[in-house]
């Protein structure tokens, strides 16, 4: 039987990959996909802990994460499309009006 250590290590690794993607990439869409990667790694941790404690609460939490992620993708992609319409770019370094 695979120990929970393996699942949690996979989850941590995927979360780190997502975080590195957000830090190193400049394309708004790829940054957004990296955020999805982090959300998924957290879901894996939730499911692992639900299995470890034999409690369904972790899986219900994943359900809510899925709902919020779906809404977040819709709103975020709408924003990216609007930014592209007005500025012809998806490079987040080009969208810096708030820069001090």
């Amino acid at each position: 039987m695979v120990p929970s250590t393996a699942y949690l290590a996979l989850s941590a690794l995927l979360f780190t990959l997502g975080a590195v993607g957000v830090l190193t990439r400049r394309n708004a869409l790829i940054i957004f996909m990296s955020v999805e990667l982090m959300l998924n790694s957290v879901n894996l941790a939730f499911v692992t802990f639900a299995r470890q404690h034999l409690s369904i609460d972790g899986q219900v939490a994943v359900f809510f994460v899925l709902v919020v992620a779906a809404v977040e993708v819709v709103v975020g992609l709408g924003l990216i499309v609007n930014i592209f319409r007005s500025r012809e770019t998806t490079n987040i370094d080009d969208v810096d009006l708030l820069r001090g």
Binding site: M1, V2, P3, S4, A6, Y7, L8, A9, L10, A12, L13, F15, T16, G18, A19, V20, G21, L23, T24, R25, N27, L29, I30, F32, M33, S34, E36, L37, N40, N43, A45, V47, T48, F49, R51, Q52, H53, L54, I56, D57, Q59, V60, V62, F63, F64, L66, V67, V68, A69, A70, V71, V73, V74, V75, L77, L79, I80, V81, T90, D93
Partner: protein, 169 residues
């Protein structure tokens, strides 16, 4: 026995994760993300979360990745020339802090790891999750429906062209 399922799934998930952040074209990132989602759905099945695995495929792979692909098609990316980051050494700093973060995260989650007991009959089925949703988590469930409504309205507002100035709104 479970290792036979876990190792290919984990390898596919890690390869997909690297693909998401390393691909030059956003469409390749989206395909890599799809492979991560499918691999994670397999691990959910091993972890006795059948319903969540089905949701993962339907919502994430079915809806979210398709949405990403549509936006990638809409935006017609030009080839971006060179690493034009405005912050110096951002990439190197990202990798260094990412590695440090991985160490911290691993030490935190591995401290919480424990052993698996055999799952009882019916654990992780749609019935059990549904019972929990409509009793213990009824209020969050209703709030989730409001969030979905807000998302729909936001999509309509963001997707519509701005009204011409002086128009009747």
């Amino acid at each position: 026995m479970e290792w036979v399922v876990f190792i290919p799934a984990a390898a596919l998930a890690i390869a997909g994760g690297i693909g998401v952040i390393a691909a030059r074209q956003p469409v390749h990132s989206a395909i890599a993300l799809l492979s991560v989602l499918a691999a994670l759905a397999v691990t959910y099945l091993v972890l006795a979360a059948q319903f969540i695995a089905a949701l993962q495929i339907i919502i994430y792979a079915g809806a979210i990745v398709v949405l990403f692909l549509f936006v990638v098609m809409l935006l017609q990316f030009r080839a971006v020339a060179g690493p034009a980051t405005k912050l110096p050494r951002q990439r190197a700093a990202g990798f260094v802090f990412g590695a440090l973060y991985l160490v911290i995260l691993l030490s935190a989650v591995l401290a919480a790891a424990g052993s698996f007991q055999p799952a009882p009959e019916g654990f992780g089925t749609a019935q059990q999750i549904g019972e929990s949703l409509f009793t213990t988590y009824l209020l969050p469930f209703e709030l989730a429906s409001i969030i979905l409504l807000v998302g729909i309205v936001a999509a309509v507002v963001l997707g519509s062209r701005p009204a011409p100035p002086g128009g009747a709104g």
